[in-house]
């Protein structure tokens, strides 16, 4: 049986963690402000065309074919293999975008001996793109709010703040990762970010649950020692679950295909930061907010009365 060292002093290391996290958050925020995210056409609008060839194809020939047909601003790149090509056309003035895919296909086929196999077309009109972005932002906000309320109800408001702080930490760093590396941010990545929230919260709740239990059962001990004990008791579970999840995510990233590659990457980064934050952010925040034994005691009898708060 593998035994993990069960008495690591996490709480005393929280200052170091704070500096590390702060640095990462700073880099992320700076990159998000300066570089922004490389938004996919789901959010910007535009057209994306993926074509497949039976043999390896030169990008230059496709580019020149597109240039002669007035798609000079298209970005052309290989996608996955040298036989697959991805063409992106930005939304621009005076172009009928719903027809662009047809024109692009005929343009590249007219100037090449190989006939392209149309694998995928995505066209998002400008009005839809804005809505998707708005819905995505709202989804993030609403899920954060829902979590805040649920955790405050099940535990206590200090825990709610702690868990949301950890979530914001994870989301910002994952977004920052995409910004720094210039990875494309599309709808599936947004879904991954939301899944990260779910996952990271899962981790945090498990720790909180143990903290609550220990506060109720242990008569002695300072809050910081109780937190430390709780973190150590849940440590092997935290690491085990993260490991299994990371294993499947690696499988997904390597084998799942190009379309969900970024989705898997976002989840991987999110699961890593989520595991870290449930230990080094969520609990220290609760401590910093001054958690006490009384916060978590079972409600007295009068607590069973009908709650008259609005």
């Amino acid at each position: 049986m593998v035994m993990l060292k069960q008495n690591f002093d996490f709480i005393s290391k929280r200052k170091i963690a704070l500096v590390g996290s702060g640095l990462l958050l700073l880099i992320s925020a700076a990159s998000l402000i300066i570089n922004g995210l490389k938004l996919g056409i789901d959010f910007t609008g535009g057209t994306l065309i993926e074509v497949g060839y039976s043999e390896i194809v030169e990008l230059e020939s496709i580019r020149s074919a597109l240039e002669t047909h007035e798609f000079g601003d298209a970005t052309v790149q290989h996608f996955g293999t040298a036989k697959d090509v991805l063409i992106r056309i930005k939304p621009r003035e005076g172009v009928n975008h719903s027809q662009a895919s047809v024109q692009v296909l005929s343009a590249i086929n007219s100037s090449s001996e190989q006939i392209a196999d149309l694998r995928r077309v995505e066209f998002v009109g400008p009005q839809v793109g804005d809505e998707l972005a708005e819905d995505g932002g709202l989804a993030l906000l609403y899920s954060m709010f829902g979590i805040l309320v649920y955790v405050a109800w099940r535990f206590e408001y200090k825990f709610a703040l702690g868990s949301v702080a950890a979530l914001i930490h994870d989301v910002v760093i994952t977004l920052g990762f995409f910004s720094v590396l210039g990875l494309e941010f599309d709808l599936t990545v947004l879904a991954a970010i939301l899944a990260v929230i779910g996952y990271s919260l899962n981790d945090t709740i498990v720790v909180y649950d143990r903290i609550r239990e220990n506060f109720r059962n242990l008569r002695k001990g300072t809050p910081s020692s109780i937190l430390n004990n709780s973190l150590n008791q849940t440590l092997s579970r935290t690491l085990m679950t993260s490991l299994t999840t990371i294993l499947v995510l690696i499988a997904l990233a390597l084998l799942g295909g190009e379309i969900i590659h970024n989705f898997a990457i976002a989840l991987l980064v999110g699961v890593l930061t989520g595991t870290y934050s449930s230990i080094f952010i969520a609990s220290p925040v609760v401590l910093a907010l001054g958690v006490r034994k009384e916060d978590l005691m079972l409600p007295e009898k009068e607590g069973l009365d009908i709650d008259t708060r609005p």
Binding site: A139, A195, Y199, T244
Partner: protein, 615 residues
């Protein structure tokens, strides 16, 4: 102490697993290439067609696996793709134009499974290939059209009451009625007030002017009607295209989702779906010179048009027949081998056409082709809806004799154009122009790739977790692995039962669930280890481990479920698929990881005196 489940609990777990296996089973049978025959608006399938299909297939030596007739559809299952193509061609020509033949891949679920409503999962377009369109109905245009109709109606009402007016015209967002005297204005107001209850009347700034606005309720009605009418028309058009299992759904107030599985020719699909082509028949004005009218003012009672070659032509304002009155249209070749559309009019149209042709033998009549196009473009960073109305005279012919119900028109550029026009006339016009605001097309090769890669990553991820769990938790790990496998089976069974759409992100959701589903077991097993370390007996540790871990698992999963629900609420298409599989996975994993493993652990260790647990 012993750890045992009551009999009913064991039976319950076994029953759920059995049902899971049963309903997941249809997914392993694959598809039959098949031809799907359905009726159109004017026809009804019956045993005659069934017999005709059987005869045709026998005559061509094609062996059908099965022929099924249900829900006003005939499904012919075939052995291979070659037979499918051949059968589709022969059946199409044998059945004629009254029926739609479409290629389809029908699930090859055995009859006994279908009898208990067990079906395979419904694959999304990203897995089976096809086109997804999001169409936006131009609601402003619908209201504008209604206002224009009111102009005519008001004119008619005032005439009927013999109230003299100076002018009636649409101005901005209302209809302006100018009258000649105070008394006329009062009378007109009274007449309009009783006749058109949906109009809000008010006095204009000028004297004797009434402004009529469509009430908000009526506007809502108009928009609702436009959407419903457009959906009907789109459904007709999609049926004409011959697509198996199309989805046409309303989304929001002004949008329609159209999904066409298996369709590859998106160009044609787009042309047909978005087109607003219609026809008008008008007499040619021969009294005035069209060239001069093109330069200056057009004579009263006429409208200036252009022919396809750009030549101006003057037509009379009065319309003889419009596209609405066409009940059937088919394309073909005329005696000179040029493309023609054969038209059949309804009763009223036929009467009008008959009267007009009788009175005008020897005079020229024109066919006007009308098309509305709408699209949103970005100009100076702003979104501007760009509208274009194309009206051209495609044909001018001298009336040789009287005709009414059936006749042909020529002057079209190609047989394709004739075919498309005939289709559009048959399917009916759109109540308001529509614009494609989103398109997602996935080719069949990519769809298959997505399925393969998705399945592979589920498989590899699954095996990795199995190995890891078995190595770390020994017998308990193996038990968790069995539970995990059943979790997968139950997810697939549930997805099949509710016929939720499985998308690529949905598969990713399943993969993620595999990773997270073991979490419950990890929590329980770690708890049991802890209890053992604290010196408790194995049986007591098992009991306490499950009891204490439950609250944690519950809390942790509820919050994840909360996030999945938000995802479902806000996500569109593929994201929804992810949310569905994730939430299903969370719920099923609670069952398999807690009840399922507990049952197995109980059976293995529950009744004996255990000294050591293999954990």
């Amino acid at each position: 102490m012993q750890n045992t489940f009551p009999l009913w609990k064991n039976l319950f777990v076994v029953m759920v697993l059995g049902l899971g296996l049963l309903y997941a089973l249809p997914n392993i049978y694959g598809d039959d290439p098949s031809v799907q025959i359905s009726s159109t608006r004017t026809t009804q399938l019956n045993d005659d067609q069934l017999n005709l299909i059987k005869e045709t297939l026998t005559a061509q030596g094609i062996v059908a696996k099965a022929i099924e007739f249900k829900d006003d559809q005939i499904l012919v299952r075939l052995e291979n793709l070659d037979d499918q193509m051949k059968a589709a061609d022969y059946l199409k020509s044998a059945l004629g134009r009254g029926f739609t033949t479409a290629l389809n891949l029908a699930p090859a679920t055995p009859a006994w499974l279908r009898a208990i409503a067990a079906e395979p999962m419904y694959l999304g377009l990203d897995l089976r290939g096809g086109v997804h369109f999001l169409l936006e109905v131009d609601m402003d245009a619908a209201v504008k059209q209604a206002e224009e109709r009111y102009v005519g109606d008001i004119r008619g009402a005032l005439r009927a009451e013999k109230i003299r007016y100076a002018s009636i015209a649409k101005v901005n967002d209302f209809v302006q009625v100018k009258l000649k005297s105070e008394a006329d204005a009062a009378n007109a107001k009274a007449v309009l007030g009783t006749e058109f209850r949906n109009l809000k009347l008010s006095d204009g700034k000028e004297l004797f002017v009434i402004e009529a606005r469509i009430s908000l309720d009526e506007q809502k009605q108009i928009k609702k009607f436009a959407l419903a009418q457009n959906m009907t028309t789109l459904r007709n058009r999609v049926n004409e295209l011959g697509v198996a299992e199309p989805i046409i759904q309303q989304q929001g107030d002004a949008r329609i989702v159209v999904q066409l599985p298996g369709v590859q020719d998106t160009t044609r699909a787009k042309e047909i779906l978005g087109a607003t082509a219609s026809l008008e028949f008008r007499m040619v004005d021969v009294k005035h010179d069209a060239q001069r009218a093109a330069k200056g003012k057009q004579p009263i009672g006429t409208r200036l048009y252009r022919e396809r070659n750009g030549k101006p032509i003057l037509l009379k304002r009065q319309i003889i027949v419009t596209g609405d009155q066409i009940v059937d249209a088919s394309s073909g070749l005329d005696q000179n081998n040029s493309a023609a559309v054969y038209i059949t009019l309804d009763g009223i149209g036929a009467k009008k056409m008959g009267r007009t042709t009788r009175d005008n033998i020897g005079k020229p009549m024109a066919v006007v082709f009308i098309e509305n196009k709408v699209e949103t473009r970005i100009s100076n960073g702003k979104k501007i809806r760009h509208k274009e109305k194309l009206e051209e005279v495609i044909n001018v012919a001298t009336i040789q004799g009287v005709f009414s119900k059936r006749f042909q028109i020529t002057g079209l550029d190609s047989t394709t154009e004739a075919r498309n026009l005939a289709l559009l006339l048959r399917a009916g016009a759109l109540a308001a122009p529509i614009e494609i605001v989103e398109e997602r097309t996935v080719g069949p090769s990519l769809g298959q790739d997505n399925i393969n890669q998705g399945t592979l990553s589920v498989f590899v991820g699954f095996v990795l977790v199995l190995v890891f769990m078995a190595a770390y938790y020994k017998v308990f790990g193996l038990v968790a692995n069995v539970a995990l496998a059943f979790n997968l089976v139950i997810i697939i069974a549930l997805l099949s039962m509710i016929q939720a759409t499985l998308t690529l992100p949905g598969i990713a959701g399943i993969v993620l669930t595999v990773g997270m589903a073991v979490d419950a077991n990890v929590l329980i097993f770690e708890r049991i280890r802890e209890e053992l370390r604290n010196g408790n007996s194995p049986q007591a540790s098992i009991y306490a481990g499950y009891e204490k871990a439950f609250g944690t698992i519950f809390d942790a999963n509820i919050t994840t479920l909360l996030v999945a629900l938000v995802l479902f609420g806000f996500g569109t298409g593929p994201i929804k698929g992810f949310a569905v599989t994730l939430s299903l996975g969370i719920m099923t994993s609670m069952f398999t990881a807690i009840m399922g493993t507990r049952m197995m652990i109980n059976l293995i260790y529950g009744k004996q005196r255990v000294k050591r647990l293999s954990l």
